[in-house]
């Protein structure tokens, strides 16, 4: 029983980090209808930048700088790559796929192919239902949860957040009311990118830093977005956490590989039974 609880909590911890990354993917899709194949690579860039910046200025400054750099990076990518191709959804898949390869190879050519370890800024373990559990993981989950809450507060309590929701709801009316739609779209892409990089900075001390780190996180994020309902932000968070907890629960009594298969089976079931996502109809 202890193992069940411990792995469920671990699932929740990992799920919150994934939720932060998936939320960035979801907001980009929800507003711009872009399936951003490079989102995992933005996460990877976040881990690399966190390692590099933390090496000179310390982890806490990196945690602040990395999302800001992500925002800037997102704005540049939106202007140079996304905006010229946004008219055709299929074209954005191709361009973001190309961007994914460019990011990976740029990091490989400059940072090197060698995987690196980033030391956690908080050391130590605590006993958790029979496991010695890393304290930094608990911090990472709490921080990710805080960022998610802050994101929703931003959307509901600020003018810019209201504009984003307005453009999402009815782009033409938003334009008629004088909302700078083009700039809102650019900022939204930048915000989604910043969330991926922030997720990378948080996850870097837990996982490994290398040019392919983002390849594996992308499918998990997509699963959360699909199960939560494409563009449904709260659904995405719920789905990311649910999937991770489910995997943790199944891992406690069965082969962890079976847990991953179960997640994929759940996604297939949702696509068959509720093609618009598990949380379709919920507030966006």
């Amino acid at each position: 029983m202890d193992l069940v609880i411990a792995l469920t909590i671990n699932g929740l911890v990992w799920g919150l980090i994934v939720a932060l990354i998936a939320l960035g993917l979801s907001i980009i899709f929800g507003l711009l209808d872009i399936i951003n194949v490079a989102h995992g690579d933005f996460f990877m860039v976040g881990t690399v930048l966190a390692l590099v910046i933390a090496g000179t200025t310390g982890f806490w400054i990196a945690l602040v700088l990395v999302p800001l750099l992500g925002l800037a990076m997102g704005l540049v990518v939106e202007r140079l790559i996304i905006r010229p191709t946004i008219s055709a959804a299929s074209l954005t898949i191709v361009t973001t796929f190309g961007l994914s390869m460019i990011l990976q190879e740029t990091v490989r050519a400059t940072f090197g192919a060698q995987p690196r370890r980033m030391a956690a800024p908080i050391q130590g373990t605590i006993p958790l239902f029979g496991l010695e559990y890393d304290v930094y993981r608990l911090f990472a989950a709490a921080f990710a949860a805080l960022c998610i809450v802050a994101f929703f507060l931003f959307l509901s309590r600020t003018t810019l957040g209201t504009w984003i929701r307005a453009v999402r709801q009815d782009r033409e009316t938003a334009t008629a009311l004088g909302i700078p739609v083009v700039r809102v779209c650019a900022f939204t892409f930048g915000l989604g990118t910043a969330m991926a990089l922030l997720g990378g900075a948080i996850a870097a001390p837990i996982t490994t830093v290398e040019f392919r780190t983002g390849v594996d996180i992308l499918p998990v994020s997509f699963m959360a977005v699909v199960i939560g309902g494409l563009g449904n932000l709260k659904g995405t968070v719920a789905a990311a956490v649910l999937l991770a907890v489910l995997e943790g629960l199944i891992s406690s009594f069965a082969d962890p590989t079976l847990a991953r298969i179960t997640s994929l089976a759940v996604m297939c079931m949702v696509l068959l039974v509720k093609p618009r996502g598990l949380f379709a109809g919920a507030t966006r």
Partner: protein, 426 residues
């Protein structure tokens, strides 16, 4: 629908043009096959320049290039210049197979210095065999010189069978008798599990259920939590990013306090233990080629390090953070010299003489030299496997300190050949 309607005249002209093209290309092919006895010898390097194994592939590429440069400085092979053509497998078996065909069929590679990726090399061997081309594997999956090996498949380094024989008896005696094996869920990991399980059980130990980790797993906690508490030896087999994730997360869970951490060279390959910032301390590793020069301190090892541009402690590249995949990449260096020895010994002139090279390689002794800086080795006649000295090392203060040397003679005694390719017809 097309409005094009071929008439008899256009059909004949196209057929004639096609026939001329086919005939010309056939003549070109035969020219390549039979008229190259005096041109350069073309070696193909089938290498992971990108993808998951890129941090290893970089060194295999560099080693092969450095070896070819050295060979050419020394006058080439049998007086003929050597050209090296490299193809990137992208660490992907499907791509690797396609690139191997390109190396042999389009670029005319005479011999192949092959992949270190188990999946790539295992899918490459049938192609190399079909195209009747000698292929040197550098990965560890035992099948390459075992159940999936052929007369054309060679390996100068160790496989999972040899690594189990080299390290498991010592680890069983000194570290513990209750083992759990955790490895990636693909050919390399499964191969290690089978060989080590057989070895430990033969010695009278207990091997718990294996834990196979999907290659895309980022969070290792669900897998580490499954390790039975009675485990005395945790044998891990990972590479690259997953290695670091494993050591980092195992350390954060304090596993090293209750069990001994034991592994093979691949798990610490292209990684400086010091870069793990303490997470690798106390881990035992079976090495093929000591990371630290002083454990095989001779002029050949020193010159090899110099030519590879690495330091003598961490095997780190000068002016970069890269660490040489030293326990594997030496094969890409030495395979070039093994081929040089075999070509010169056999009198090989062209592809028609490949049988002579294969016969020369079978049972060949490769003496400790600049061409073979890892040490003297025997390329066993039956299973085409290299019998080499191995080293059991421990990470102490961020360095790999050798604790025991297992000689090739000891290894030969513990490793009866299970296959005999030398009886296969060519």
């Amino acid at each position: 629908m097309s409005k094009y309607q071929p008439d008899r005249r256009s059909f004949l002209s196209h057929a004639l043009a096609g026939g001329v093209a086919a005939g010309t290309s056939y003549l070109g092919l035969t020219r390549d096959l039979y008229a190259q006895a005096s041109g350069p010898i073309i070696l193909g390097s089938h290498c992971e320049l990108t993808g998951g194994f890129a941090s290893w592939g970089y060194w295999h590429d560099k080693a092969a290039k450095a070896a070819v440069q050295l060979v050419n400085e020394q006058g080439g092979i049998a007086g003929r210049k050597v050209e090296l053509i490299t193809e990137d497998t992208e660490s992907n078996p499907a791509t690797g197979t396609r690139k191997l065909r390109s190396l042999i069929e389009r670029n005319g590679a005479n011999f192949i210095v092959g992949s270190v990726h188990s999946g790539v090399m295992l899918s490459a061997i049938p192609v190399a065999t079909e195209l009747k081309t000698v292929y040197f594997s550098a990965g560890e999956a035992t099948e390459a010189t075992g159940s999936k090996g052929t007369r054309y498949s060679f390996r100068t380094g160790t496989d999972t069978y040899a690594l189990a024989a080299a390290g498991a008896p010592w680890a069983f005696e000194n570290l513990g008798k209750n083992w759990t094996i955790i490895s990636p869920d693909y050919a390399w990991g499964h191969s290690h599990y089978q060989e080590h399980k057989a070895m430990v059980e033969r010695l009278g130990g207990k091997v718990n259920d294996p834990i196979f980790v999907p290659l895309d797993a980022k969070d290792m906690v669900p897998y580490l939590a499954k390790i039975p508490q009675e485990t005395q030896v945790l044998f891990s087999v990972f590479f690259g990013a997953q290695s670091i994730a494993f050591y980092t997360q195992a350390k954060s869970m304090g596993l090293e306090k209750t069990m001994k951490m034991y592994s093979i060279c691949g798990t610490m390959e292209a990684i400086a233990p010091a870069d793990l910032q303490g997470a690798g301390e106390g881990v035992y590793i079976v090495e093929n080629f000591p990371r630290v020069l002083k454990y095989k301190d001779d002029e050949f090892h020193r010159e090899h390090n110099k030519r590879m541009g690495i330091d003598d402690v961490d095997a780190r590249e000068a002016n970069s953070q890269r660490v040489m995949a030293k326990s594997h990449a030496w094969q890409s260096w030495e395979n070039v010299f093994a081929l040089k020895n075999a070509i010169e010994k056999s009198g090989w002139k062209s592809k028609n003489d490949d049988k002579l090279v294969i016969e020369a390689l079978e049972g060949m002794t490769l003496p400790n030299s600049l061409g073979h800086p890892q040490g003297t080795k025997i390329l066993r006649r039956e299973d085409h496997s290299g019998m080499v000295d191995c080293y059991i090392s421990r990470v102490e203060n961020g360095k790999l300190e050798v604790k025991k040397k297992v000689t090739k003679e000891d290894l030969i005694k513990a490793l009866p050949p299970r296959f005999d390719f030398s009886k296969e017809t060519i």
